[in-house]
């Protein structure tokens, strides 16, 4: 990587003007990293140790908020479970869906660019409009999905108004939104050397074997990237709860970020909500760390210089 520092050496005057330009260019990023990222990160930990409500000035209460969250909070556990349920369904669903579509689009079919655009379109629509629009498809009596069910002779389902269907229903929408994953997968597939496939075909490997032993290994770095990004995004899910379900029915879609929003900006318990934030952060960090730790076991490095 080129980011390694070289000592200034003989060209030191030249170097210093280069460095000055670099620092000028980086002023915005400095400000952002300090004031919008790392300082707030420390801040959230600090605030979580107080009983700040926004009305009266904060008092230090130690770990009271955390103790209360884990022992007395009626929502936290439901919220964590709902979020993980949603994230797992959405991530697995959208990974399979987008890899499948990308493999189809990687074949020589007519109008490939057009189809790529079609599968990408949901991603560029505003999220709120998508959820509102889909809420009509999920409508309890006249919605499209209930029309299908009644045509098939099945009982009607309330979908987003039913506590056991709401999370899968919302996950389906997020799978539908996975257009950006398709584009990234497609780019990766086009980089799989075609000689591998040709050689395997010579040796009589069938389609599944070629997928399993050539495509997947070559794609592991990209699978990892997509997995990581969609996991982080889906664990932070909040828009469907804000725009559609308000965390309900019951607590079935009270996702962690929504829980934090509710505590901080509806009930103004800023200290308490910061403790929740920190717990969410810890959960996300654990997921990310597990993914990174296990990655070396399944990521295939061609030539082994990928660092």
């Amino acid at each position: 990587m080129e980011s390694v520092n070289k000592p200034p050496g003989r060209r030191s005057r030249f170097y210093s003007s280069e460095a000055r330009v670099a620092y000028i260019c980086l002023i915005p990023a400095f400000l952002g990293l300090i004031f919008l990222t790392y300082l707030p990160l420390v801040g959230v930990l600090g605030i979580s140790l107080t009983n700040w409500t926004g009305l009266k000035s904060p008092e230090f209460v130690g770990f009271d908020n955390y103790v209360q969250l884990f022992t007395a909070d009626p929502y936290l556990m439901d919220s964590i479970l709902a979020t993980i349920y949603f994230a797992v369904l959405s991530v697995v669903g959208s990974m399979i869906y987008s890899l499948f579509i990308a493999m189809l689009l990687n074949r020589k079919i007519p109008a490939r660019g057009f189809f790529r655009a079609v599968f990408y379109v949901p991603y560029v629509l505003p999220a709120v409009a998508i959820y509102v629009g889909w809420s009509w498809l999920y409508e309890a009596n006249f919605g499209f999905f209930n029309f299908l069910l009644s045509e098939a002779g099945l009982r009607k389902v309330l979908f987003i108004a039913d506590s056991s269907y709401v999370v899968p229903s919302l996950s389906l929408i997020s799978v539908w939104l996975a257009g950006n994953l398709i584009v990234i997968f497609l780019a990766g597939l086009q980089n799989v050397p075609s000689v591998y496939h040709e050689a395997a075909e010579m040796d009589g490997a069938n389609g599944w074997n070629r997928f399993r032993h050539i495509t997947v290994p070559c794609m592991t770095p990209i699978i990892f990237y997509n997995l990581l990004m969609s996991l982080i995004a889906n664990l932070q899910v909040v828009t469907p709860a804000l725009s559609l379900t308000n965390g309900g029915p019951g607590n079935s879609s009270r996702f962690m970020t929504y829980l934090m929003y509710d505590q901080a900006f509806v009930n103004y318990k800023l200290g308490y909500a910061s403790a929740t934030t920190f717990i969410i952060f810890a959960i996300l960090a654990v997921f990310t760390a597990v993914l990174f730790k296990t990655s070396h076991r399944w990521i295939f490095n061609e030539g082994g210089d990928d660092k």
């Binding site: 080129e2 980011s3 390694v4 520092n5 070289k6 003007s17 280069e18 460095a19 330009v21 670099a22 260019c25 980086l26 915005p28 990023a29 952002g32 990293l33 990222t37 707030p40 801040g43 605030i47 074949r107 079919i109 189809f115 655009a117 079609v118 990408y120 379109v121 629509l125 505003p126 409009a129 509102v132 629009g133 889909w134 009509w136 498809l137 006249f142 499209f144 045509e151 950006n180 584009v183 990234i184 497609l186 780019a187 980089n191 990209i222 932070q236 828009t239 804000l242 725009s243 970020t257 934090m260 929003y261 901080a264 900006f265 800023l270 934030t277 920190f278 969410i280 952060f281 996300l284």
Partner: protein
Amino acid sequence: MSVAAYGRLRSKKRRDFTTNLITFAVVVLLAALVLFPIWWIFRTSLMTNAEIYKYPPSLLPQNWLFSNYEKTLEVFKFWKYLWNTMIIIVPSCLAGTFTATLCGYAFARLRFRGKSLIWVLCIGSMLLPTMVTLIPLYIGWTRGLGLQDSYLPLILPYFCGGGAFNIFLIRQFILSIPRELDQAATIDGAGYFRILFGIIIPAIKSAMIVVALFIFIGLWNDLLQQMIYINSSDKYTIALGLTNFRGQLKSDWSLTMAATCLSFAPGVIFYLIGQRYFVEGITLTGLKN
């Protein structure tokens, strides 16, 4: 070529043709499935309420009631919301793209002390979930700087580098430009900023458009922060306006769907304009990771 080998080749060609045909059929089917919800929403927006509740529902509206849109616009102040959204998006996109380019240039081309450390901090912030910093930032903007009911807390962060991911993207693009170009310019006596504006920026225009589109989509979808920072209804964005509108008109589905379709439009238009660059840009991010 032996007869047997020729036969094998021909049968492979025929087999390829058949699989491609099947693939094409599957793709057409799936594309139709993906577009179907959008069509369903759109056709609902053109129907009377009686028609919506008919059983079985029809795929096409009987008469295309574009008057639904007029009715919707009376209650759903789309143009006002669009204008408000643009007040946030336009400066954010411009500033975010510009500062991301500056930072990406520094990381890709310039040598300076502490580069690796700053780079790690920058990339590390990509993994930091945005919701973690929400409460301290809220307190900072509203209490610290007194910016209540203001767009500034939504816009100003984009003046600070436009997000680590975008900096990363620009850096990758710049790295793919041959260094000989700027070396030649250096010999001709061009300074670092001259190189940036004269050589680098023209060469990475497509990446900058991608960054602008990413910022656009990000702001477009960020209902949470808009809810937190904007209170008065005449400052509502499209996302806030639509959420609110749906709450008011719970059962008038044709008007709600008309409002939904109106909200779809700007995103689709932006996408169609930038589509070529978009795919190119995302492609590069995926590959260079």
